[in-house]
């Protein structure tokens, strides 16, 4: 035992002693079948932490590789993944020359990291997955993460609350049933367990992965409705500096009666990003300022984000990454309209309400590639949230901290890929609403992916969570999952998954105690965890290189859903009140009628969200979502169109009708966005510009009851990248 420890220490010390002088390198250029450069392809040196991305001219350059034989994997959406055996002698840069990738737009599978906590081909994952690329976000000028999520089929936003396939209604941001991760690390607030979708600079994001379905078997509480993983950009070999600015103007509302401002309303922002590598050290910094006058009165926002990332390679097998961000936001507080005659104006008493929030986090991740078939990862996060407002007689304030750590070991043995981990967490809150509270959690998880044959992949896993929430006390939850993938050939992939999920009550739901305007909210120290069972059956079919489709049937059963409502005493309290069943299907189709010129995506989701307790519909769940997206590249211009249809809620919370005037006024949403962009190079500098019109049809729809979604606005962007 002692010898093993000594060996381990020596191994670590050896890895720190690794000298760049002994290293090898590899370079090349990626092109397609028409000799056109392929940019933004991901390259991995298997068995190391090393890798890179191709630049705009298709070139890549990876250095500091220990001499030896490796497999270089090249992956980019729209092309067949390529693996190349390379033999790298010491002290030499091996030039692979031009590498041609075959364009097969619908048969290539992106690499996914969220479903199993390690890199997997998307077709090997037994659950529904969607992803949003940095290019998608840039083309739509997504200002915050929710701006990007609004276009993902199966998702709708109830203001800032994410609803994946009907999992969440609306609870003013409290107790999210969707887990948000940053680079695989939980990113939720300690007080409300809500998602903070504006506290990251969007220009630091490489992509966003969305798992649609219960993820508690790997990610624990809050993941019962799905998981969103924000993956930040890796620091490349080349120095990169980019600057982007945007400016926009809101139209006047279609109905003159709603006009409230005597001057134009603008939105504007500036995004700066730079990355630099100094041998083993890579640094990136992203800074964003966003401002928004808003189309609604007292809905203005002013926000700063400054984030950074440090990557340090102790060796080709050991990498430490530290990411962090600081956000400061001041905003008005538009909760709901005064009435339908004044739909863009809040009640008079709320006109001076404002909220100031500061949120910052620090997250270190250390990854050690022990061998070609084993790795060890230790990660953590400290996420601090502070807000203060002037709402009510005394105003509200809260300071909360969320600390989460995880040790993870991944081993590939034979046909098994095993992942084990332990995951302690701690959160505390100090507030005049929730008073002084703290909570503890600890979990262990394990997952085995078994490659039965080329056609069959089975996944079995589970997680045990223990939690202790202040005076609510201790409890625990076991959540297993099973997954099957069957690839019979002919472009078909069948998948099946089943699992359970849970969500422990948040501090806000359990301990909120406040009173305003004759309404008193009282705590509930007897709250129990919500629980769920989920089943999904899916079929992914590639018909040709022009057409592919994915069908998912899903069934979710929920118990003890926590909802706030009036008690007979007249007080408001969060209680475990609802049993629910949500069944439905989601159909997605990808079409490439003109390969690499015209792309179409159609996504339709049908949900039947039933409240079993009351034999009625669940509140705030649309039954139909239809999202379509077209992208057409013509004469060097990229044009895009998004059309979204969201059916009206079948049911709202009736208690709101005594608070929000004309709350029952809800309609279907038809939202059409158009955009055109152009990118051009001058010497080594890339310039890009775009123009977009959002809500072109000036259609007035509900974002939530008593709240109208963004009216038509025009946005111009201009960017430069060195």
């Amino acid at each position: 035992m002692i010898m093993k420890k000594i060996h381990l220490i020596l191994l670590i010390l050896w890895s720190f002693q690794w000298l760049p002088a002994q290293s090898a390198g590899i370079k090349g250029r990626l092109i397609d079948e028409n000799s056109k450069a392929i940019a933004a392809a991901n390259l991995y040196i298997a068995g190391t932490v090393l890798g890179g991305a191709s630049s705009d001219d298709g070139a890549f350059f990876i250095t500091k590789i220990p001499p030896g034989r490796y497999v270089l994997t090249i992956s980019v959406l729209g092309y067949a993944t390529k693996e190349i055996d390379v033999n790298l002698p010491a002290g030499q840069i091996s030039d692979l020359g031009e590498i041609s990738l075959k364009a097969i737009p619908l048969q290539s599978q992106p690499i996914i990291v969220t479903a199993g906590k390690y890199e997997q081909q998307a077709e090997n994952v037994p659950v529904s997955i969607s992803s949003i690329s940095a290019q998608d976000m840039a083309q739509r000028n997504a200002v915050t993460i929710d701006d990007a999520l609004r276009y993902v089929s199966g998702i709708n936003m109830n203001l800032d609350q994410v609803n994946i396939r009907g999992s969440s209604g609306y609870a003013k941001g409290v107790g999210s049933r969707v887990m948000l991760l940053v680079d695989g690390v939980p990113y939720i607030t300690g007080d409300t367990q809500g998602l903070v979708l504006e506290a990251l600079p969007v220009n630091q994001i490489e992509k966003i992965e969305i798992v649609k379905g219960a993820g508690s078997a790997l990610y624990g509480s809050n993941a019962m409705g799905g998981v969103i993983n924000i993956i930040t950009k890796p620091v490349g070999e080349k120095t990169k500096v980019s600057l982007k600015m945007y400016g926009g103007l809101y139209s006047e509302p279609y109905h003159e009666q709603w006009q409230w401002a005597d001057k134009s309303r603008y939105l504007y922002g500036l995004k700066a990003y730079c990355e630099q590598r100094y041998n083993q050290l890579g640094i990136s910094i992203a800074a964003v300022k966003d401002g928004d006058d808003s189309y609604r009165k007292n809905d203005w926002k002013e926000r700063y984000n400054i984030g950074g990332k440090i990557e340090y390679d102790f060796s080709p097998f050991n990498r430490l990454i530290i990411t962090g961000n600081y956000m400061d936001q001041k905003r008005g507080n538009f909760l709901y309209w005064k009435d339908l005659s004044h739909a863009l104006t809040p009640p008079d008493s709320q006109l001076s309400e404002k909220v100031h929030s500061q949120r910052y986090y620090l997250s270190p991740v250390y990854r050690w590639i022990i061998s070609q078939k084993a790795y060890f990862k230790i990660s953590g996060i400290w996420f601090h949230n502070r807000f203060k407002d002037n709402i009510g007689n005394r105003g509200n304030h809260a300071d909360s901290d969320f600390i989460n750590g995880e040790l993870q070991l991944g081993v590939q043995t034979g046909r098994h890929t095993l992942v084990f981990g332990v995951n302690p967490s701690y959160n505390k809150v100090q507030s005049n609403i929730f008073s002084s509270r703290k909570g503890l959690g600890a979990a262990v998880f394990i997952q085995d992916e078994f490659l039965w044959s080329e056609k069959w992949i089975a996944t079995l896993g589970g997680r045990y969570d223990y939690y202790d929430i202040d005076i609510i006390g201790q409890n625990s939850s076991i959540n297993p999952k099973i997954g099957l993938v069957f690839k019979p050939g002919g472009g078909s992939v069948l998948r099946f998954s089943a699992g359970t999920g849970f969500r422990a009550p948040s501090m806000a739901e359990a301990f909120a105690s406040t009173s305003t305007g004759g309404i008193t909210v009282i705590p509930n120290e007897n709250l129990k965890a919500e629980r769920s069972q989920s089943v999904e059956l899916g079929l992914n079919q590639v018909f040709s290189k022009y057409l592919g489709a994915d069908l998912a049937l899903f069934y979710n059963y929920y118990e003890n859903l926590i909802e706030g409502g009036f008690l007979p005493s007249g007080y408001i309290q969060f209680r475990n009140v609802t049993k629910a069943r949500i069944t439905g299907f989601e159909l997605n189709a990808d079409l490439h009628p003109l390969p690499r010129q015209l792309y179409l995506h159609l996504g339709y989701t049908y949900m039947d969200p039933q409240n079993i307790s009351t034999d009625d519909y669940l509140t705030y769940r649309p039954r139909n979502l239809f999202y379509s997206n077209a992208r057409w590249t013509i004469f060097g211009f990229v044009t895009g169109l998004d059309y979204r249809f969201i059916s009206r809620y079948d049911r709202i919370d009736n208690t709101f009708s005594i608070i929000i005037p004309e709350a029952e006024q809800i309609v279907d949403a038809h939202i059409l966005d158009l955009r055109v962009s152009k990118e051009f190079n001058y010497k080594s500098t890339t310039f890009n510009a775009s123009f977009q019109i959002n809500n072109l049809l000036q259609y007035h729809y509900n974002e939530l009851i008593g709240s109208i979604g963004p009216i038509r606005h025009y946005v111009i962007t201009f960017g430069v990248e060195l």
């Binding site: 279609y254 109905h255 009666q257 709603w258 009435d339 339908l340 005659s341 739909a343 009640p347 008493s349 009173s515 305003t516 305007g517 004759g518 309404i519 008193t520 009036f566 007979p568 005493s569 007249g570 007080y571 009628p593 003109l594 015209l598 077209a630 059309y643 009736n654 208690t655 009708s657 005594i658 608070i659 929000i660 005037p661 006024q665 309609v667 279907d668 949403a669 038809h670 059409l672 049809l697 000036q698 259609y699 007035h700 729809y701 509900n702 109208i708």
Partner: protein, 161 residues
């Protein structure tokens, strides 16, 4: 060329789908307006909330359940908002559906139970010979003016709740 036609048809269909513009404001206001006059605030006790409430029938059962069922409407319409306190008078314009309203009252929430702790402190009454409230007929597309109510916290009207 076929692609252009398909795109054109798709866009046109979106325009047709969306031509109703979604939510729209009510066209003509229907309701009542007037002034509430207050006296003897020092006898009011604790005021958690103060509302103008209009009921279709008299006597009503209670305020909150009738508002929730649509049998009564409150002003300000947001339950958490109150009429101003410690003022001599306040003017109001309240939107209502057309029809007959039997009871217009100013109600005070004096305790923390939002369901039960209410009392009437003033009512619309144009007849001096009795203490019964006066009903009004509200017509579609017009505001019935002159609904003036006198609140004397020392001498509240008969309690219907």
């Amino acid at each position: 060329m076929r692609l252009f036609y398909i795109s054109g048809i798709f866009l046109l269909s979106l325009f047709f789908i969306s031509c109703n513009k979604g939510l729209e404001p009510p066209h003509n206001l229907t309701g009542i307006s007037g002034t509430i006059h207050f006296t003897n605030w020092n006898s009011a006790g604790t005021i958690h909330n103060l509302k103008l409430v209009v009921f279709r029938t008299f006597p009503p059962e209670d305020i909150v359940s009738e508002v929730m069922s649509g049998e009564a409407q409150a002003y300000p319409p947001d339950l958490t908002q109150s009429l101003p306190v410690d003022v001599d008078s306040v003017a109001f314009t309240m939107e209502l559906g057309s029809g007959y309203y039997a009871y217009i009252t100013v109600a005070q929430q004096y305790g923390s139970n939002v369901y039960e702790d209410w009392r009437a402190v003033g009512q619309y009454d144009t007849t001096a010979e009795d203490n019964l409230p006066t009903g009004v007929q509200v017509n579609e597309g017009s505001i019935l003016e002159g609904i003036n109510i006198y609140v004397d916290f020392e001498n509240p009207p008969p309690q219907p709740f």
